[in-house]
């Protein structure tokens, strides 16, 4: 089975423990080996880049250098946090396209006896690995408890689909990978228009009003779609939407109770794990009631009935672009 070098990032041991627990659980079912980057350090999130570029990139590159020493067969680094994923990709990318810059970063690494050759590693987000490496067919085959009746809003956030480096696996605006994964688990995926909108990032700390506005938009949009819960692929998104939902409600005098889960937790449920094995309960807005729907056929909702058969006189709609992961699309056009 494939082995991956894993860069967990700081959140996995604190705010995103549910992500960590559920990832470890499902990786057993999927038969993937996970080995942490030995002695990894924080990627600096968006903060270090704000202060000073060279040290920020050097900080990131130390992880790349350490990981490249661990290459043994597979050179794929798996990241779970989208900020970590972006930072690792970004450092690798910029070192490659700007050789002068690459040399500078390597000079810094040298001080610690390290070096990194840009391009030596393939950096992938867990979602990419699940959809494109492992494949939906295989995931489907492992589903023991289809998530029927569960209306899920897929929320990917910013840094998995953007910026649009050549190596990115998804569309920058309307990616379909998370939708397809959740569909393969049997869940009812709502057409969530804000799937790549911003959760506010560190604005909860810097300009709370700005952040509350962004959180409100997301939660409201999911609620408008009658979603039972939202799933994310990023610790920061999860924390902002979950932990600050209360404060946001207070700010806008609303009363949303939208559970925010990691997508791996739903994969685990579908694979037949118990909620307790997947870090359920660690979320602040409880997912209990949403999950109680599991296994029950949801009543025919209005929106589902609305589509198909245009009434007389209605003009035809253009066909939407075919739904397929971007990587497959790339291959198809070659």
């Amino acid at each position: 089975m494939s082995d991956y070098i894993f860069y967990p990032g700081c959140a996995m041991e604190s705010s995103a423990r549910a992500y960590d627990i559920s990832l470890k659980a499902i990786s057993k079912t999927l038969g993937i080996g996970i080995k942490d980057v030995d002695d990894w350090n924080c990627c600096g999130a968006t903060e270090y880049l704000s202060i000073s570029a060279t040290p920020a990139y050097a900080l990131i590159a130390r992880n790349l250098a350490l990981a490249s020493r661990q290459v043994n067969g597979s050179n794929t680094v798996m990241a779970s946090c989208s900020a970590c994923y972006l930072n690792l990709t970004k450092a690798d990318h910029n070192m490659a396209v700007d050789p002068k810059f690459g040399i500078k970063i390597n000079q810094a690494l040298e001080a610690g006896g390290l070096s990194y050759q840009p391009g030596a590693l393939e950096i992938k987000h867990i979602l990419d690995i699940m959809v494109n490496d492992i494949g939906l067919e295989k995931i489907k085959s492992k589903v023991k408890r289809p998530l029927e009746g569960l209306r899920v809003a897929p929320y990917l956030g910013c840094m998995v689909p953007r910026p649009d480096y050549a190596s990115r696996f998804s569309d920058a605006e309307q990616p379909v990978e998370l939708d397809m994964l959740l569909e393969s688990l049997g869940a009812e995926v709502v057409d969530f228009p804000l799937r790549t909108a911003c959760c506010g990032g560190h604005m909860t700390q810097i300009s709370p009003d700005t952040a509350f506005d962004l959180i409100n938009r997301l939660v409201k949009a999911a609620d408008d779609q009658q979603a039972d819960l939202m799933v994310t692929a990023c610790p920061m998104c999860q924390m902002n939407l979950d932990a600050f939902q209360g404060e946001m409600n207070h700010h806008f005098k609303t009363n949303f109770k939208m559970p925010i889960l990691f997508f791996t937790q739903l994969v685990g449920l579908a694979f037949g794990y118990e909620a307790s094995e997947l870090g359920f309960g660690l979320e602040l807005v409880s997912a209990k009631s949403a999950l109680s729907k599991l296994g029950m056929k949801a009543p025919e909702s209005d929106s589902a009935a609305k589509v198909k058969k245009p009434p007389k006189g209605e003009l035809p709609m253009p066909a939407p672009l075919p739904k397929m992961p971007r990587s497959a699309e790339k291959e198809a056009t070659q």
Partner: protein, 197 residues
């Protein structure tokens, strides 16, 4: 809306290498394409936090081109950037706008010219933790930062904080230092020297 006012625009913009625009371009890792801006406003239109910015990114580029250094650097625009990269992927000229915002922040920090210190302080607090432990520490970070800047907000946050600590079980003690702390410090020291060159 602000009233039209006379801005102290440099009358001629020197074409030599040290123009503000090329300085920013040179300090941005990778290819920024910043000189290619056609002032279309896609960035400002896309920005989720544009409402809270004193200038839209587009306006910042105009200021940079015009050589209005202080106003460009003092702006809260880069500090309000949430790094969502919408502007970057939508820019018709392939300008790496988010990365340029980082560069502006770098220069502002270096020259200590910002109007509001909330955001720079948050970043600095964050990197202090990283420089000391090699890992970040969310609880400590939020605690220190909010004590400093949002002391009035703390009561409202209490239920959340309690939840975080009890329900979420987030650690309240700083993380264990990474083994290679000395190595990391050396790397960062060299990197800072290189940045200064």
């Amino acid at each position: 809306m602000t009233e039209l006012q006379t801005v102290d625009l440099p009358t001629t913009i020197p074409k030599h290498k040290k123009s503000l625009l090329s300085e920013v371009a040179a300090r941005t890792a990778g290819k920024s394409n910043i000189e290619m801006c056609i002032q279309c406003g896609t960035c400002g239109g896309s920005c989720p936090s544009a409402a809270d910015m004193d200038h839209t990114p587009r306006a910042i580029f105009a200021l940079l081109k015009a050589g209005v250094r202080d106003e460009a650097l003092r702006s809260n625009t880069p500090w309000m950037c949430v790094s969502c990269y919408y502007c970057t992927v939508r820019c018709p000229q392939d300008i790496h706008i988010t990365d340029v915002m980082y560069t502006l922040k770098n220069i502002a920090v270096e020259e200590k010219i910002y109007t509001d210190s909330t955001a720079p302080d948050f970043s600095k607090t964050f990197i202090n933790m990283v420089e000391n432990y090699g890992r970040s520490f969310e609880v400590g970070l939020a605690g220190i930062h909010n004590l400093k800047h949002f002391i009035g907000r703390l009561p409202g946050m209490t239920p959340m904080v309690i939840g975080m600590l009890t329900k979420k079980g987030m650690p309240i003690t700083p993380p264990k230092r990474i083994k290679g702390m000395a190595q990391l410090k050396k790397i960062l020291k060299r990197a800072k020297e290189l940045e200064a060159v």
